[in-house]
């Protein structure tokens, strides 16, 4: 056990700390709300995390390269609307084709952002702030005031998110959640194993050094935006399948939620470090707080946002302090042990 503990990377420690914070929060809310723990709570949280995890992962890819994507909510909304439009006029189309469409559609928006940020050398916060409004206005124009309604969508699409895949200890894992988890783990593997994706970290932690090492930083930033757009497109499809009714406000506010999830999940806002597993847990944490606050009678509607903000701040600080202490303590222990070993060697 201690061996495993010592072998864990700081990122691994952070994930453990996040899990601890989530468990503490669950215990706290269970003491405050009657009948809090039940199988439904898991369905609620896993249902909305399925979408948020994808968006947090998309955001993480961009943040890793020392950028930010504020247009992500607009991309989710636009893709959801366009996919809804497409599938309701072609109800016979294959699921695979629809998935591909959403990926490409989102990737196109990502490419626009990526081109301007990477090759136009405009700071990403400015670019995506502008494209957030532009994409949203285009959606308003494109939608022509119509909205997508559930009854125009094929049954396989609307039934997909709630299809039970398997059950563990009475907790029902539904298709949307399982699909999202699979995607997040796939991205995690790619980020840790594939050389081109490792370059995201290099560019994020030190762009100049990365250039010196022969990495085409612009191409890396561009691909981060395209990949992130594709994931946002998939999130849009998930959004369409889960909510069915898509208006032009779809995905509004997701940019901040995704940044919150990523940062809570330990992704460094200045780039270069973080994991998508952390971002996934961050999304879970934010959703646990959000879902539970609605049920907590003490907090009124008007204070909920403020309490959510305060709790996010509290969990990030706890997590940071806790992780830092743990890392420092572990380093001190290791140091002490080396000293002891040296001393033993010195004394014959």
């Amino acid at each position: 056990m201690t061996g495993l503990f010592h072998r864990l990377s700081p990122q691994g420690l952070r994930i453990l700390a996040l899990l601890a914070v989530i468990l503490l929060l669950l215990a706290f809310f269970a003491s405050q709300i009657d009948g809090y723990f039940n199988a439904r709570l898991f369905s609620r949280i896993s249902g909305s995390v399925a979408i948020m995890a994808l968006i947090a992962t998309a955001q993480t890819l961009v943040i890793l390269t020392r950028n930010i994507d504020l247009s992500i909510g607009s991309v989710v909304g636009f893709t959801a609307f366009a996919a809804g439009n497409l599938v309701s006029s072609n109800p016979e189309m294959s699921a695979l084709l629809l998935v591909l469409f959403c990926c490409c559609f989102g990737a196109c928006f990502g490419a626009v952002n990526g081109l301007i940020v990477a090759y136009g050398r405009v700071p990403s916060i400015i670019v995506t702030l502008a494209t957030m409004a532009i994409f949203r206005s285009l959606l308003v124009e494109y939608s022509d005031g119509k909205s997508i309604t559930t009854n125009t969508l094929p049954a396989w699409l609307t039934e997909f998110p709630n299809m039970p895949v398997f059950t563990v200890f009475g907790l029902e894992f539904r298709a949307a959640f399982v699909a999202a988890l699979t995607l997040v783990f796939a991205v995690h593997l790619a980020l840790t194993r594939l050389r081109p994706m490792r370059q995201f970290f290099a560019v994020g932690s030190n762009p100049e050094a990365a250039e010196m090492a022969g990495i085409d930083a612009r191409r890396v930033v561009f691909s981060a935006f395209v990949l992130s757009g594709a994931l946002a497109g998939l999130a849009g499809l998930m959004f369409l399948a889960r909510f069915g009714n898509i208006t032009v406000v779809a995905g509004l506010g997701f940019e901040l939620k995704s940044v919150a999830a990523a940062v809570v999940g330990g992704v460094n806002i200045f780039g270069g470090s973080g994991t998508v597993i952390g971002a996934l847990l961050g999304a879970v944490l934010v959703d646990v707080i959000d879902t539970s606050l609605v049920r907590w009678a003490i907090v009124s509607e008007f204070w909920r946002e403020a309490v959510l903000g305060a709790l996010i701040l509290l969990s990030v600080t706890t997590d940071t302090l806790f992780t830092r202490r743990l890392v420092a303590w572990r380093a001190a222990r290791a140091h002490a042990r080396r000293e002891a070993a040296l001393n033993r060697e010195a004394r014959p």
Binding site: A133, G145, S147, F239, G244, N245
Partner: protein, 347 residues
């Protein structure tokens, strides 16, 4: 409340004489040049587009050579955007702005400035609460009677007894707040509803995902909940879908204000057995006639004035019983939809 009713009655009596002077409905003369804008809460919601269709129809009918623009803020910028458009309208010397207010009283200074510059402000769908800067409010239905209809739908769905919760739009939407108040009043005053308990009011921000999650949270929070009342077209369908997805329709029903085309499947499968709405095309049409009359000086905007609004017939400007010192034109009525009539209306 009682005093305002009496005041209203006194005002009506005092102005009764003036009413006779206008006993013949004013027939609006077409062809006068005045440019106007139709300003919805924000763009991209079906009902506002329907209102625009109605206004454009009236615009053609009256052969106004001026322009009718349908402009509005984007959803994330609704309040600030509405105020900005109103402020600009004053400098453009427009004849009238037709406003579905989403900015509460914050828009009043801009509306007053527009009035001072000669631009009439006709509100529709959602009024300016204090009526400052507002020429007249074209009310879709009597706000008090919406309360009664919602209470009645709750009564019939719950079978006379049970717990209900409200899922509204935003906390500062003037129309929804007024309807919820009217419903609370009805529930409290009439013994018929004594066994119906309103347990909570939550807000879904008129976004599908927020409304969907709030609806589920309500079910978790109140195990005996029998009905979710959503006086907003976005909230009602999100709530109905949430109940359907989680297989809760036999326990928790959904009702409120919704569009037949969006609600038809939920009404047929019993998730939302009854809901109500008025015709937004008519509302846009009537608002245009009112604004045109005021902007061209053919209407003075005084209580008791009666005019003919094209195909919809005669309407009279009256004191607004819900807002002291405000004037309104009452459109009405609205339709209650159930499985007998919803399919026909959805087409």
């Amino acid at each position: 409340m009682k005093t305002t009713n009496i005041l209203g009655a006194v005002a009506a009596l005092m102005l009764g004489g003036a009413g006779f002077a206008y006993a013949d409905a004013i027939k609006l003369e077409g062809g006068k040049d005045t440019s106007m804008i139709l300003l919805p809460k924000f763009l991209g919601i079906l009902v506002f587009d329907q209102a625009n269709e109605g206004a454009q129809e009236a615009h053609k009918e009256l052969a106004n050579p001026g322009k009718l623009d349908f402009t509005g803020p984007t959803p994330e910028n609704s309040v600030a955007g509405q105020i900005e458009i109103m402020t600009t309208a004053a400098t453009q010397k427009l004849g009238a702005v037709m406003l579905s207010n989403n900015a509460g009283d914050q828009i009043a200074p801009a509306a007053e400035a527009a009035q001072a510059a000669g631009t009439k402000v006709v509100t529709w769908d959602s009024p300016i609460p204090s009526a400052k800067g507002e020429s007249v409010f074209v009310a879709q239905v009597d706000f008090g009677s919406i309360g009664v209809v919602m209470a009645d739908m709750a009564h019939s769905i719950l079978g006379g007894a049970g717990e209900m919760a409200v899922l509204s739009a935003t906390p500062d939407a003037a129309n929804q707040n007024a309807w919820i108040e009217a419903m609370k009043k009805t529930l409290a005053e009439d013994a018929k509803y004594k066994d119906i308990k309103l347990v909570d009011v939550v807000y879904g921000d008129d976004q599908s995902e927020v409304s969907y999650n709030r609806a589920l949270a309500l079910v978790d929070k109140y195990p005996n909940l029998g009905l979710i009342m959503a006086p907003t077209t976005v909230g009602i369908q999100a709530a109905a879908k949430a109940m359907q997805d989680e297989g809760l329709c036999d326990r928790v029903r959904v009702s409120g204000l919704g569009l037949p085309s969006e609600m038809v499947s939920y009404t047929m499968n019993g998730c939302a057995p009854e809901f109500a709405l008025w015709d937004f095309r008519d509302l846009g049409y009537l608002s245009y006639y009112t604004a045109y009359g005021l902007a061209t000086g053919q209407l003075k905007g005084e209580i008791g004035e009666t005019f003919t609004a094209g195909r919809m017939g005669d309407y009279t400007i009256e004191a607004d019983p819900g807002r002291e010192g405000a004037k309104r034109i009452l459109m009405g009525p609205f339709t209650v939809y159930n499985k007998d009539n919803v399919e026909a209306a959805a087409k």
